[in-house]
């Protein structure tokens, strides 16, 4: 297995608050890793550090940043562009792909997430779940080797969560390398190779799903999972 992400002793400080304390994580190609843990434990911040949306205050991240894609909790589609333009924009202006090819590729991706019929709609005209599926297609259009999901379903109405999760499950089947910050425990258990539990800025356990959900080493995890399940 080839290691595609290697984070060593990452620290991040906001003012007086140390949000990440010596966080280390290695991810191999094709692995799906879910990060769970209470709110404010530093899960999202860790992901944002990997994507270089936050500067780290200590440690080392080894990663090919051009191969990273990211899906946000707040969706962050471009409101002034149609669905297909949202997807084809970056390939055209960043990768200098010709428009026709980018649009064709965009349509294939929309088909994959089941939204080809919405390609000319603006984001304001589709549902939250559809928006998040478009956001996934948009990230895929840059042909990333690794996808980072920052609580992809927490901003969605409960009935829309399933459609987004099933798209992510499909990606897992295709062996896309993914790190997913989530509160959807059943989903994390089903889709992940490893579960990482974070608390107060530290990774306190990394284990395969079965162990994490049935017999975690750390009592703190048991308490948390009992509340969540």
């Amino acid at each position: 297995m080839m290691c595609v992400i290697k984070a060593e002793n990452i620290t991040k400080v906001f003012g007086d608050l140390e949000v990440l304390k010596n966080v280390s994580l290695e991810v191999d190609r094709g692995e799906v890793i879910s990060i769970i843990g209470p709110s404010g434990s530093g899960k999202s911040t860790f992901l944002r550090c990997l994507q270089q949306l936050e500067e780290i205050d200590g440690g080392k991240i080894k990663i090919d940043d051009k191969k990273l894609g990211m899906i946000f909790q707040n969706l962050n589609l471009f409101p002034h562009k149609t669905v297909i333009e949202n997807i084809s924009e970056a390939p055209i202006i960043v990768n200098k792909m010709n428009r026709e090819k980018a649009v064709k590729r965009g349509e294939e991706l929309l088909k994959k997430v089941g939204l080809l019929d919405k390609k000319d709609d603006y984001p304001c005209d589709i549902s939250g779940g559809q928006k998040q599926r478009v956001a996934i297609a948009r990230a895929l259009a840059m042909e990333p080797e690794i996808l980072l999901f920052d609580e992809p379903t927490s901003a969605l109405d409960p009935e829309l969560v399933g459609e987004v999760l099933s798209v992510i499950k499909e990606l897992a089947k295709d062996h896309m390398t993914m790190i997913i910050v989530t509160h959807e425990m059943a989903f994390a258990r089903e889709v992940s190779d490893y579960i990482v539990f974070m608390d107060e800025g530290k990774i306190i356990e990394k284990a395969i799903p079965n162990k994490m959900f049935t017999n975690p080493d750390h009592p703190r995890i048991k308490v948390f999972l009992d509340k969540m399940l």
Binding site: Q52, K66, G69, M70, F72, H80, I93, V94, N95, A139
Partner: protein
């Protein structure tokens, strides 16, 4: 009737000066405002400070004083400008300051998540601004920009004070000669028509940008 047509023709000739000045001022002050706004939203402190002083001076002093300074004052320092040049430069610098503030507010109103999404897709600063942030900012600043564009049309009348033959000056000449208020009424109607065109243009723009959100 032929009298009214006659003086209307004369005053309309003045509108050529008004429109020329208006066109030059708009065409240069809006880009100046965009550049200024990008400067003010950048992380270069010295640039922000310079722009701050520029806006402070321009917004805090009368436009007519600025016009007099450029036309009558600069020759003292050996810089002699024609009337039209002096007026155009004054209006561009003055309106550039207002547009800078309007566009800055527009840029800052765009959600931080838009920058992050663009960055995550590999876009650099220029691509992000041009393709993602500015188009959204423009939609939001259309109403205040429309206000400024209307005010600029009326402010061009200030050039009558440095003897430029614009609409107002032409009307005043007729009034002094014939001693009746008809030319002022005609001038008012011409200004109304011109500002109405500006209003219409901005209404169309707002409609165009209303397809999303």
């Amino acid at each position: 009737m032929s009298y009214i047509l006659n003086i209307t023709g004369f005053i309309l000739k003045g509108s050529i000066v008004t429109l020329k000045l208006y066109a030059v001022a708009i065409v240069f002050s809006i880009p100046l405002g965009i550049v200024g706004a990008l400067g003010k939203t950048s992380n270069k402190k010295w640039l922000k400070n310079i722009l701050e002083i520029y806006i402070w001076i321009i917004r805090g002093t009368p436009l007519l004083l600025q016009l007099f300074f450029v036309y009558f004052g600069l020759p003292v320092f050996g810089i002699k400008l024609g009337r039209f040049q002096a007026a155009a430069i004054t209006f561009i610098i003055n309106y550039g300051a207002y547009f800078t503030e309007i566009f800055r507010a527009g840029i800052e109103s765009v959600d931080k998540g838009q920058y992050e999404a663009a960055k995550a897709l590999g876009m650099n600063y220029k691509q992000t601004m041009r393709r993602i942030i500015l188009p959204q900012a423009i939609k939001r600043v259309l109403p205040p920009t429309s206000n400024e564009a209307i005010t600029l049309m009326k402010d061009t009348a200030l050039v009558a004070a440095i003897s430029m033959g614009d609409i107002l000056r032409a009307a005043k000449e007729v009034l002094t000669r014939d001693f009746n208020v008809t030319p002022f009424i005609i001038a008012a109607i011409i200004y109304l028509l011109l500002t109405s065109v500006v209003v219409l243009v901005f209404k169309q723009l707002e409609k165009k940008y209303a397809i999303y959100e």
